[in-house]
């Protein structure tokens, strides 16, 4: 998903869930910050780089693909952008290594989503926005894994887009992929940029939906393709329909986090709150346009809901507050709280992956069993998550 949905769409969802304009802005800022909080950004503000929620191109270019490097990549992408759907999925083929990769495939309504929402409970707008980003991406990034894997994430030439045709429903059009990172996608001609074919299991080109380009991120996209992991059977992805479900689930999750709906349950959607706006939302989601166009549509929808304008996302908005805060109160600032939420989410996901017997996200140490023996950046979590009873 892109800025339009993560920032402006989240703003609208927060309003529909009953948040004020100001609260909604704080939530949607955090939701989109997940796509911007790189190690480079954290290094600039003097924050802990372990809290990175994304990797920039240069960081990816220099990323190592040895087990430690792979774990670092997987921690970031699986925790925030490709939440694994089922860490204990039955895999009838391949060995342990294949099984571990297969179990990292992202999808909506997995147990880890419940953990993600529960983790954000009572932790403020930053944790809420972060959790909503993760939730939304489980729909957009479905069928891809947040770890480099040729055998899971590769695509082949059977990739067809369903394009609306006037009066005729849809026409199928083969998707053309190119590898020029500077050229924009050509939505009219159906030409999209993807990563280069690299038949190497751990190449970063095979991370997430790189081989399918940005197609999964476009709300209007409907496509059929043959995933590498699916025994030569194709899957159909209907983004407008799934993004609508994502939106309704976001409103539901927001109400749970506000304490209105009881504990978060999977496969539950607040269609009632969204129904009065269904036609408009579906029209935005289905419109074939670049992200800039979608931003304007979501912005207009948000304005119609709150009567207020949505200020544009600026990465530096909360930086002065963080930099000016004394060391002992940095955790109380907006960015400080976001960093804690990110560390908590990463720690939780890595723990679940590790506990399932899967080493791809690296080692997780249970504080309650062994005390604090990990990366020191995670130490503030002891207080943030309620203290625990680990051995010091």
């Amino acid at each position: 998903m892109e800025r339009s949905f993560h920032y402006y769409g989240t703003y609208c969802a927060a309003l529909l869930a009953g948040h004020s304009h100001e609260e909604s802005l704080e939530i949607c800022y955090s939701a989109f910050l997940v796509d911007k909080c790189s190690k480079a950004f954290l290094a600039r503000i003097g924050g802990p780089t372990a809290a990175a929620t994304t990797q920039l191109p240069a960081e990816m270019a220099s990323a190592r693909t040895d087990p430690i490097g792979l774990a670092d990549i997987t921690r970031i992408w699986a925790s925030f952008h490709f939440l694994p759907h089922d860490l204990h999925a039955e895999v009838s083929k391949g060995g342990k290594r294949y099984r571990n990769k297969y179990r990292m495939i992202c999808g909506p309504n997995g147990d880890l989503l419940t953990d993600t929402i529960n983790l954000a409970q009572g932790k403020g707008a930053q944790a809420t926005g972060l959790a909503l980003h993760v939730l939304a991406d489980t729909w957009a990034h479905r069928y891809f894994a947040g770890t480099p894997s040729f055998v899971i994430n590769n695509t082949n030439r059977f990739f067809v887009e369903l394009v609306p045709a006037e009066g005729r429903g849809f026409v199928e059009r083969p998707v053309k992929f190119k590898h020029s990172p500077t050229a924009p996608d050509d939505l009219d001609a159906g030409v999209y940029t993807n990563t280069i074919y690299q038949p190497s299991e751990d190449a970063v080109m095979n991370l997430g939906h790189g081989r399918a380009g940005h197609l999964p991120d476009y709300s209007f996209a409907r496509y059929r393709y043959v995933p590498a992991w699916n025994n030569y059977e194709e899957v159909f992805k209907d983004n407008p329909a799934e993004y609508y479900q994502a939106f309704a689930q976001m409103v539901y999750a927001l109400k749970c986090l506000r304490g209105e709906n009881g504990p978060f349950r999977l496969n539950t959607y607040d269609t009632e709150a969204v129904a009065p706006h269904e036609r408009l939302i579906r029209r935005i989601l289905e419109k074939r346009q670049p992200d800039t166009g979608a931003i304007e549509d979501w912005r207009a929808f948000g304005r119609s809901l709150s009567g207020r304008d949505i200020i544009d996302f600026d990465l530096d908005t909360y930086v002065p507050e963080y930099l000016d805060a004394p060391d002992d109160t940095k955790d109380k600032t907006y960015l400080g709280k976001f960093i804690l939420a990110a560390l908590a989410q990463k720690g939780m996901v890595v723990n679940r992956v590790w506990s399932s017997g899967n080493p791809l996200a690296g080692r997780s140490i249970d504080y309650n069993e062994k005390g604090f023996a990990g990366i020191k950046d995670f130490l503030p979590l002891v207080e943030y998550l309620g203290g625990g009873h680990g051995r010091e």
């Binding site: 892109e2 899971i152 590769n154």
Partner: protein, 170 residues
């Protein structure tokens, strides 16, 4: 940094080859043979344990078998390094040449830049043909191999010294 060191080693190797062709050729043939066999075995294990379960994974088996074949052939002829080197040069240049021409065609179809790729493909194919035509000449085969070494070292060096763009999909 690793690319810079490798580039410099390639240049040094090329110069050594030109100065002392017989001894250097033998070492090069051995190294090539072992490299291809090791790469092929690694790919074969990867195919058996992972890639055979994926769509299109059979390609990996072909790559593995071809690599092992080439490596074995090169090692079998390592006492006659000239023959090994010739085989490698013909195979490498023909393969990369055809690949570059195919890429040029693909790029042209997408109205992207294609001329440089086509030119590179034609040069590679021409070098492959030259190896076959001058099969009996040690000097020409050695010169073509050294040309390839210097060219690749130059490209590698240039690539390692400029910013690298890769596609990032958040």
């Amino acid at each position: 940094m690793a690319n810079v060191i490798l580039s410099l080693l390639m240049i040094v190797g090329g110069v050594a080859l030109l100065l002392s062709p017989q001894e250097a050729l033998f070492v090069v043939a051995l190294a090539l043979g072992f490299y291809f066999v090791a790469y092929g075995l690694h790919t074969l294990v990867y195919y058996l344990t992972m890639a055979r379960h994926m769509t299109g994974g059979l390609t990996l088996l072909f790559i593995a078998v071809i690599s092992i074949d080439i490596g074995s052939l090169v090692l079998a002829f390592s006492s006659k390094p000239h023959a090994s080197l010739m085989l490698y040069l013909v195979g490498y240049n023909m393969f990369t040449g055809v690949l570059a021409i195919a890429r040029a065609r693909e790029s042209k179809a997408l109205e992207s830049r294609w001329k440089a790729s086509l030119a590179r493909g034609i040069v590679n194919v021409a070098l492959g043909v030259a190896c076959l035509v001058f099969i009996g000449s040690d000097q020409i085969v050695t010169a073509i191999f050294c040309f390839g070494l210097f060219y690749n070292a130059g490209v590698r060096l240039a690539r390692s010294l400029r910013p690298t763009e890769i596609i990032y999909i958040p």
